[in-house]
């Protein structure tokens, strides 16, 4: 069993050696793809990090309607809000709190004094400040909280909040699509290389099959070759992206534009290396697998 595995691995390396030019060019293609995937991973990861921070800071205020509800029922309203799916925290703000907040949000002492005069006619309402766990649920949570009896109105920061959530969603989606497309391209290039390797070894495959080699046995060296190409193609991107990220993180002291916190290089870079190497192997494997299966399927 191990002898056989050793033989397949040896054959795989021999295959790479025999078509070194081809193997090198598809490794390069894998490397380019993985570099782009890696860059995207870095961006996406950091984006998700900031997006999550932004999203978790998106809050709603649910104003209480005293015309229909007694103050006694506040407890019940709070309970109902907490039951809504997607709500992560609920805090009560009395209208005095709201008034203070409003007054204090102005730094001009003259303006503050001007507002203070209206404290007795406080136009604010008692409210619940609701934070939500996932930005995409903003609309749904708003709708459900508004339906709770005793809630007068829900403020959500308006259209801008929705827009921000939308943009972040789109960036994530676009990044995902691009990564998948690039991976498909790399798979295609490996597929082509293995296809040529197979073509060059047609006689040998024919002989193998004629003396009764099982399909798995015939496949193995080509799969190994594909994996070698993929793994080889992941080394350079790992070094480049890892080094660059590490350097930039230190140079920027961990923040971008002074506001967005970057992910710490470790353990993030270990994950990145694992994902890139894994993707390289997978890409190499899939490319050669398709190639070899196609060949074996048309021949009995």
């Amino acid at each position: 069993m191990f002898r056989r595995l050793g033989r397949h691995i040896k054959e795989g390396f021999l295959g790479v050696g025999r078509h070194f030019g081809m193997a090198l060019s598809s490794s390069t293609a894998v490397a380019i793809t993985l570099t782009l995937i890696g860059v995207f991973m870095v961006l996406t990861y950091n984006l998700v990090l900031t997006t999550n921070t932004i999203e978790s800071s998106i809050s709603l205020s649910a104003l209480i309607d005293y015309d229909s509800e007694d103050q006694v029922n506040l407890q019940r309203i709070e309970g109902k809000i907490k039951e809504v799916n997607g709500v992560s925290s609920v805090t009560y703000h009395s209208k005095e709190d709201e008034f203070d907040f409003y007054v204090n949000s102005n730094t001009d002492p003259e303006l503050q004094e001007f507002y203070e005069a209206y404290r007795d006619e406080n136009p604010f309402r008692d409210a619940y400040i609701i934070t939500i766990s996932d930005g995409t649920m903003l609309q749904e949570v708003t709708r459900q909280v508004e339906a709770i009896p005793g809630v007068y109105q829900v403020y959500d920061g308006g259209a801008n909040t929705y827009k921000l959530v939308d943009v972040l969603e789109n960036i994530r989606l676009f990044g995902g699509i691009l990564v998948v497309a690039l991976a498909a391209l790399a798979i295609y290039l490996v597929y082509n290389t293995i296809h040529i390797t197979i073509d060059n070894r047609k006689d040998e495959i024919w002989i193998m099959r004629n003396v009764g080699a099982k399909n798995g046995y015939v496949r193995a060296p080509f799969l190994v070759e594909g994996i070698i190409i993929g793994l080889f193609g992941s080394i350079v991107p790992i070094l480049i992206i890892g080094g660059l990220y590490y350097y930039l993180y230190n140079a920027l002291q961990g923040t971008l534009f002074g506001t967005f916190a970057l992910a710490a290089p470790f353990p993030f870079l270990y994950y990145l290396a694992a994902v890139l190497a894994g993707t390289g192997i997978l890409v190499g494997f899939i490319g050669s697998y398709i190639s070899v299966c196609k060949y074996l399927r048309i021949r009995r």
Partner: protein, 226 residues
Amino acid sequence: MIKIENVSKTYKNGTHALSNISLEIKDGEFVYIIGPTGSGKSTLIKLLNGEEVPNSGTVLVNDINVGKLRHSKVPVYRRNIGVVFQDYRLLPRKTVFENVAYAMEVVDAPRDTLRKRVREVLKLVDVADKSNVFPAELSGGQQQRVAIARAIANKPSILIADEPTGNLDPKKSDEIIRLLEKINQEEKTTILIVTHDIEIVRHHPKRTIAIDSGHITADLAGGGSI
């Protein structure tokens, strides 16, 4: 035992290679298949080793319905059939020993058994002294002997040779046929030889099946009066 019943084979391009063929070959027989070019001889061989499937009829080999064999079962089935061709088909980068050993490696034969058997078959086909030589350094006759050694290494019950002497002069051809007769006797292998060479059939008369345009036109014990 080979049992072919009402077999027809039409290729995808519409060529009728075999039309309603029936024949039976018992274990240990030595049989020639003769016929003009394009008559369907190679097609018959491909049906036997599972490379092609018949459009109708059944191909039974040792009670296995070859045409109905699942794709994944073909390799193991094939271990029971050795095939030799006119153009030898040896691996140029492997030595004589490695070429024969290859057939046994592929089926996961234990190392000791493999070494012993490879030496044995190389001796049987009389190229034991060329073990460490590459195919290009051998004569055509010697290359064909190596190919035969490879085909019988896994002890198949049937050995099929498609024009084994096609590239050899009469003397060498004669030697190859004598070798196949020896294998037939010593290893009890059923032998099927496809040939154009009537001289061979004359000198080594055996059961002879003649095919023409996909039909069996004669089946003569002992070579008859061909």
